[in-house]
């Protein structure tokens, strides 16, 4: 809304706005300190991690001379194998996103363009599931996964992600804005619904699919409770579970490996966020202009 005024230069910022801006900058810098500490510590030798004040503040030159990749060697070495865990996370995340996109957009297509008995009730029921605090149901959830013989199986982790009620809602809201004439003309040409979905709707709905992918990317990549209870074999552990395993060492926790792996698992979504900022914020916090 202030876009009209936004072309103004710094000298047009009033004194009150100046104080506000200064306040925001200070808070913003403090806000970034923990991340900065994590990044900096991941390059320090283990003995320097907990030194105060951090050398980067007192003597940046000395800090840079100290920088080493030792923590990363420990984390990605044979013992902790963070690289493998990150690979599993990639497989699970990509698989989860693709399955979500296919199933949710097929479902949203039916709710946007087709008429069938029970449509209104079913749609409300789908939305209502978003309100359910399913995090409380971990015991029967795992029981169900076990019953389906999906325990300790990546599919048992991936498949439930696709049941995203939010995904159906988001895509259906997008689809109902697509002109019906496009669907009807394809119908007249004799195309079936599956074909129309794939050839007409999917290409047109790329922005909505991107927004949903981002929401799912953040949720799946960062998930911890589900992989922790479903996966048993070490070679199936995702990155978040791997970090927890590192942390459950009782004596002298390998903070160097934890920090290095933690920084990499945080860096992946941070990079995606900085590149796809608009989609991230649209998907997660609702439509933002500007």
């Amino acid at each position: 809304m202030f876009n009209g005024k936004s072309s103004r230069k710094l000298n047009s910022v009033g004194p009150v706005q100046g104080i506000g801006l200064f306040f925001l900058l200070v808070v913003g810098v403090i806000y970034l300190v923990p991340l900065f500490w994590l990044a900096n510590s991941s390059f320090l030798p283990e003995s320097e991690i907990f030194q105060f004040p951090p050398k980067i503040l007192t003597s940046p030159r000395e800090a840079f001379q100290l920088y080493t990749l030792d923590s990363y060697r420990t984390a990605f070495g044979e013992h902790w194998n963070a690289g493998w865990a990150l690979g599993v996370s990639v497989v699970v995340t990509v698989g989860g996103i693709l399955l979500t996109l296919v199933l949710c957009s097929l479902c949203a297509y039916a709710f946007a363009y087709l008429e069938f008995p029970g449509k209104g009730v079913i749609f409300i029921a789908i939305l209502a599931t978003m309100m359910l605090p399913m995090g409380t149901m971990i015991a029967p959830y795992l029981g169900t996964i076990r019953m389906l013989h999906l325990k300790d199986n990546l599919l048992g982790l991936i498949i439930p992600y696709a049941g995203s009620a939010f995904g159906v809602f988001l895509l259906r809201q997008f689809y109902i804005k697509i002109p019906v004439a496009l669907i009807e003309s394809a119908r007249i040409d004799g195309a079936g619904h599956l074909k129309i979905w794939w050839n007409v709707i999917v290409p047109l709905s790329k922005p909505a699919l991107a927004a949903l992918s981002i929401v799912q990317f953040r949720a799946i990549w960062n998930d911890f409770l589900n992989p922790m209870i479903i996966l048993r074999s070490e070679n199936l552990f995702t990155a978040t579970v791997r970090i927890q395993v590192m942390d459950s060492t009782n004596f002298s926790k390998p903070y160097d490996a934890i920090i290095a792996t933690g920084f990499v698992t945080a860096l992946v979504p941070i990079i995606f966020f900085l590149v796809f900022q608009k989609q991230f914020i649209e998907g997660l916090a609702g439509g933002i202009k500007e």
Binding site: V13, F50, E115, T129, M134, P140, A162, G262
Partner: protein, 326 residues
Amino acid sequence: MALLVSQSEAPNQAAGAVNPKWTWRRIKEVLAAYAMIAPFMAILLTFSVYVLYFGFRMSLRDAQGLSDGSFVGLQNYKDLLWADEYRARDFWLAVKTTFTFMAGCLLTQMPVAFVLAYILNHIPLVRLRAVLRAAFFLPVVINTVIIALLFRMLFNPDQGVINSFLGLLGLPSNIDWMMNSSYVMPLMLIAAFWQWTGYHMVYFLSQLQTIDPSLYEAAKLDGASPRRVLWRITLPHMRPAITFAMVTSAIGGLQVFDLVFLLFPNAAYGPGGVAKTLVAFVYDQGFSQQFLTGMASAAGWLTFGLILIISLIQFKVLGLGKHGEA
């Protein structure tokens, strides 16, 4: 929000869906529709409706580990609420911890997020605004596992940066954030504050930007003071957004698990388990030494009901329904 928007639309569509003639073409359309929603519905039904049913069934049995156990009626519920002294004490402590955490999250995050969004919205430098917005949003995209461990390291009583910094300022530098029970909740709230305030701020900012600028201009012409504009124009417009943020934040806060599981070393939930939230309590029943899955299911159902009631009350008291959208 989603629920309420569609409630007004869906019945109309259902009414429009009544097609008196069951022609071959129509039957084909209905079959196609069911086929298209079937895979999604199968997953959704399995992992919501069936899981809830399965959980209820287990909650009435003394199920343990892989064994289904035998029917015990409401014994698990009784044990949790009063009959088993130790378990009941733990359960009610978890209820207290969880609600304190939720209330603390709302009271700390919402006002600060609103003030930050308000100031940010009045800064006419678009580029800088985008940079600040991104800075505050960064913690939202990171996993809670590393956030919890990061805060444990920063707040480490002996070697942590925070205590060293407090010492530098001449403040007490020997605060035991991990083992002193009066500092456990503040630590949880600080970590949650860092993780989520930016999220609410960005949401509030997006909603502030939907207010019609002509309203502000009219108020300016009438000579209204900035404070009056805030109370009479900005806040009334933001009410649905604030309500929505509070309800979703409460539902999330009541289900917190990752943060407390990892914030304290060896999943001990702080001294005497004071940081053990309800979901952590459920997890402990079902997945630690005894694997009491029946008990965990009963605790899960109690928690499920509690959270659902709280969110419905919030909707009613805060009046989201009246506004129709958030």
